[in-house]
C-alpha cells in the first residue's frame, strides 16, 4: 500500500506515558506521519496494517505469561525492535514486586486474588527477546524519541549519550544541588537524557533514566551516608524506584535497607 517504512507501537505493562510521548510531539507528529506509515498504533488509530514492521517501539514490561508469548510474536514481525522507557528497559516501577512476595501484593490490592494471573517478576523486554536499541527514561524524552526515529529511518546510530545526568546539568549551567545544598542527587550515576530537570527544579535526580554507562554507586552511597547524613533505609529506597531492576541500581539498593 505504501512504500514508507512501517512503524508499530506495542504496549505491555506500563502507564502509556512513553507512547504518549509520540503524540506529544505536537510540532513533529505530522512530519513523522509523512515519513513513516503508522501501521499499528492502537492508542492513536483504529486502523491496523499487518506486519512485518520495519520498526517496532515497545513500551512496558513483561508481567504475565500471555505477554511473555506476545512479545515473541512482536519480535518475529519486527525488523528492528526498540524498547521505550524504564518499564520496557528495566521492568519499571512495577518491578518493585520482584523484591517481594507477589501473592502478598495481590492480596493487598484485590479482594479475590484467585482471579489474578501474573508473573512473580516484572522483567524487561531484553530478558525475553533480542532488542536493537533501548531508549531510557520514565518517561522517555520526546526529543530523544524523534532522534531514534530519525536514526532508524536514515540508518545511522542514534545519538543518545550514555554519560551521567551531571553532564547535562553542567552544560545547562545548573548549580549542583548536592554540592550547594547538600541534597542527595542520583545524577552522577544516572543515565542522561532528561536534560537534568530535577536539579533544574532544585531537587536531586531520582534516577528515572536508570543507571549511566559507568556507575560507581558504592562511592556515591558512601558519600550520602557519611557527608549528607542519609540513613540506610532511605539509601535503599533511593536506588529502588523506577529502575529498581536495572542491575547496578538493584545491587546498590539491596546493599541497604
Amino acid at each position: 500500500m505504501s512504500d514508507k517504512p512501517k512503524l508499530a507501537v506495542w504496549k505491555f505493562a506500563s502507564c502509556d506515558g512513553c507512547q504518549l510521548s509520540l503524540l506529544d510531539c505536537e510540532d513533529e507528529l505530522l512530519t513523522v506521519a509523512g515519513e513513516v506509515e503508522l501501521a499499528m498504533f492502537l492508542e492513536a488509530s483504529s486502523a491496523r496494517v499487518e506486519g512485518p514492521y520495519d520498526l517496532s517501539l515497545v513500551e512496558g514490561s513483561i508481567t504475565t505469561p500471555h505477554d511473555a508469548e506476545r512479545i515473541r510474536a512482536v519480535r518475529e514481525q519486527s525488523r528492528a525492535l526498540v524498547t521505550i522507557g524504564a518499564c520496557a528497559t528495566a521492568g519499571g516501577i512495577q518491578a518493585l514486586r520482584n523484591f517481594q512476595d507477589v501473592e502478598e501484593f495481590t492480596r493487598a490490592v484485590y479482594a479475590h486474588p484467585e482471579y489474578i494471573r501474573t508473573l512473580a517478576r516484572s522483567t524487561p523486554i531484553a530478558d525475553h527477546v533480542k532488542v536493537d536499541f533501548e531508549l531510557r527514561g520514565c518517561p522517555i524524552d520526546k526529543g530523544q524519541l524523534l532522534e531514534v526515529l530519525s536514526a532508524f529511518l536514515h540508518r545511522r546510530k542514534p545519538r543518545i549519550p550514555t554519560f551521567s545526568v551531571c553532564v547535562e546539568c553542567k552544560r545547562r549551567g545548573i548549580v549542583c544541588v548536592t554540592v550547594a545544598r547538600g541534597e542527595p542527587c542520583l545524577g552522577p550515576v544516572t543515565h542522561a537524557g532528561c536534560g537534568a530537570i530535577c536539579p533544574a527544579f532544585d531537587r536531586g535526580c531520582y534516577g528515572c533514566f536508570g543507571p549511566a554507562a559507568s556507575t560507581n554507586t558504592p562511592s556515591l552511597a558512601d558519600h550520602w551516608k557519611k557527608h549528607l547524613g542519609v540513613p540506610d533505609d532511605e539509601l535503599g529506597r533511593a536506588f529502588l524506584s523506577f529502575n529498581a531492576w536495572a542491575p547496578d541500581f538493584r545491587a546498590e539498593g539491596e546493599r541497604h535497607g
Binding site: 504496549k11 505493562a13 506500563s14 502507564c15 502509556d16 506515558g17 512513553c18 507512547q19 504518549l20 510521548s21 506529544d24 505536537e26 510540532d27 507528529l29 505530522l30 506521519a33 503508522l38 498504533f41 492502537l42 492508542e43 492513536a44 488509530s45 483504529s46 486502523a47 491496523r48 508481567t63 504475565t64 500471555h66 519499571g92 516501577i93 512495577q94 518493585l96 514486586r97 517481594q100 502478598e104 501484593f105 495481590t106 493487598a108 490490592v109 484485590y110 479482594a111 479475590h112 482471579y115 489474578i116 494471573r117 501474573t118 520514565c138 518517561p139 524524552d141 532528561c194 530537570i197 530535577c198 533544574a200 527544579f201 532544585d202 531537587r203 531520582y206 528515572c208 529506597r237 524506584s241
Partner: protein
C-alpha cells in the same frame, strides 16, 4: 439476520491502555456485555507501603502517563490532609494552573485524536489531517499549550518532577510565566473554535439518567478541592468517601468496580462535573456551552466531547486569570510536619473524580494506600450504557454496530492504564 451473534472488538483503539469488548446477543436480546481489560496489574498500592510519604507524588504519577498531574494532586492533598496542612494563596493557584494544563492537554488529546475521528468516520487524527490539516494543526497547537503549562510548572509534560507535598520544589521565573500567557491567548481562541466545531457533530439519540458524582466547591469549577456531591443528593467530605463508596471485586467484571453503597453504578467525569457545577464555569466557557446548546445538563454520553471542549475553554480562561494576577510566593512550599495520621483527598482528574487515602506511620512511611481512579468508577456505567445503547440498534450491520460500540466506550475517554485496579480475567466462553 442471525439469531445469535457476537460483536467483538479484540483491541480497543484510541483508548489509553489495552482492553477488549465482547457483546453477546441471543435471540435478539443482549445477553452479555463485557469490557475486558488486558492491562496487567501493577500493584501500586502494595509497593507504596513502606515508601516515604514524600515519594507518593512521584510514584503515583506513574499510574498514568496521560493524567500524572491528577495523581500527584490527589496524593499531595491527601498527605497534606493527613498532616493537617492547608496550602493556600499563590501556591494553591499555581496548583490550579498546573491542573488547567493537564486538562487542556488531556481533553484536547481526547477530543482531537481519540474521539473526533469517530464522528468523522476516520481511523485516526492522521487520516483527518490529510483532509483538514488546519483543523488538526489547531488541535495540536491547543494540546501543546496545555503541555506548555505542565512542562513549565512541572519540568516535563509526562511525570512532572516539580510537585511536592506542601507545594512545589521551585517556582518558574516571571519571564517564562508571561511567555506562557501569550501562548494561552491563542489557546483560548482555539478552544472556543473547538467547541463550535464539535458541537456541530452528529450525535446519536441516546440519553441516560445517570447519578452524577463530582466535586463541588462554593466558588470554583472543581479541580483540586470541594465536597463530593451527587445529582441524587450525596454531599460528603473526601474523608467520608469510604463510608459511602465501596470497591467490589466482582467475578463477572474485569476490574475492581467502585460503587455507591446500596445504589450501585454512577458516573464521574466531564458530564458529571458539568451537571453539578456548570454555573461556576468561566464566563466564556458558559457562553460557549450555551451556544453549543448544552443547557443545564447533558445526559447524552456521546456529547461529552462538547463538554470536554467547554472545559478546555474554562481551563484556558482560568489559566490566563491565574497568570494575570500572579504573585510570587515567598517560598515554593510550606512545611508539612510528619506524624502518624490518615489522610484523604479527591481531585478532579480529566476523566473524573480521583480519590486517594494514605495511612502514614510515625516515621513518615506509608502504611496503607488506596487509590480509586475515575475509570474504575465508570466501569459499571460503561457496561450499562452499552447494554442500553445496543438494544434498539440490533438491526445495524456488525461493522456499524461494532464501530458505534467502540465509540460509546470512547465517550468515557477510559484510561485503562490507570491500572491499579484492573486485571485480566479469563472469560468463560460457552
Amino acid at each position: 439476520m442471525a439469531e445469535s451473534r457476537s460483536i467483538k472488538v479484540d483491541y480497543l483503539a484510541r483508548v489509553e491502555g489495552e482492553g477488549a469488548l465482547d457483546v453477546r446477543i441471543e435471540d435478539g436480546r443482549v445477553t452479555d456485555v463485557r469490557l475486558e481489560i488486558f492491562e496487567p496489574p501493577r500493584f501500586f498500592e502494595a509497593f507504596l507501603r513502606g515508601r516515604r510519604s514524600a515519594e507518593a507524588p512521584d510514584i503515583t504519577a506513574r499510574i498514568c502517563g496521560i493524567c500524572p498531574v491528577a495523581y500527584q494532586m490527589s496524593a499531595v492533598h491527601a498527605l497534606e490532609d493527613a498532616a493537617g496542612v492547608q496550602v493556600d494563596g499563590p501556591l494553591r493557584r499555581l496548583r490550579r494552573l498546573l491542573y488547567c494544563g493537564e486538562w487542556i492537554e488531556s481533553h484536547t488529546l481526547h477530543v482531537y485524536m481519540l474521539h473526533a475521528p469517530d464522528f468523522l468516520g476516520k481511523h485516526s487524527v492522521i487520516e483527518m489531517a490529510k483532509e483538514q490539516p488546519e483543523l488538526v494543526e489547531r488541535g495540536l497547537r491547543l494540546k501543546k499549550a496545555g503541555n506548555a503549562i505542565v512542562a513549565l510548572l512541572g519540568g516535563r509534560e509526562i511525570h512532572p518532577v516539580n510537585v511536592r507535598v506542601g507545594g512545589f520544589y521551585k517556582i518558574p521565573g516571571d519571564r517564562e510565566l508571561s511567555q506562557l500567557a501569550r501562548q494561552l491567548e491563542t489557546a483560548l481562541d482555539d478552544a472556543l473554535a473547538t467547541v463550535e466545531w464539535v458541537a456541530a457533530f452528529d450525535f446519536p439519540d441516546f440519553e441516560v439518567d445517570y447519578e452524577f458524582v463530582a466535586l463541588r466547591h462554593p466558588d470554583e469549577y472543581p479541580f483540586n478541592e470541594g465536597r463530593i456531591v451527587s445529582s441524587r443528593g450525596l454531599d460528603i467530605d473526601a474523608r467520608e468517601f469510604h463510608e459511602h463508596f465501596e470497591e467490589v471485586h466482582v467475578e463477572r467484571s474485569n476490574a475492581l468496580h467502585c460503587r455507591l453503597k446500596q445504589r450501585g453504578h454512577y458516573k464521574v467525569g466531564p458530564l458529571a462535573r458539568y451537571h453539578l457545577n456548570h454555573g461556576l464555569l468561566s464566563p466564556r466557557a458558559q457562553q460557549a456551552a450555551r451556544v453549543a446548546g448544552l443547557g443545564d445538563s447533558c445526559r447524552n454520553p456521546f456529547r461529552s466531547i462538547v463538554v470536554r471542549a467547554v472545559e478546555v475553554v474554562h481551563a484556558c480562561e482560568e489559566a490566563l486569570a491565574i497568570l494575570a494576577d500572579f504573585e510570587r510566593p515567598e517560598r515554593p512550599f510550606v512545611d508539612v510536619p510528619a506524624g502518624a495520621a490518615t489522610g484523604y483527598a479527591a481531585t478532579e482528574a480529566p476523566r473524573g473524580l480521583l480519590h486517594h487515602t494514605y495511612r502514614i506511620d510515625a516515621a513518615g512511611l506509608i502504611e496503607h494506600a488506596q487509590i480509586i481512579p475515575p475509570t474504575s468508577q465508570n466501569q459499571g456505567t460503561i457496561e450499562d450504557d452499552l447494554r442500553q445503547f445496543i438494544a434498539p440498534r440490533l438491526d445495524l450491520a456488525d461493522d456499524d454496530l461494532r464501530w458505534q460500540c467502540e465509540q460509546a466506550i470512547r465517550n468515557y475517554d477510559p484510561c485503562i492504564s490507570c491500572a491499579t485496579h484492573f486485571l485480566k480475567l479469563t472469560v468463560d466462553r460457552r
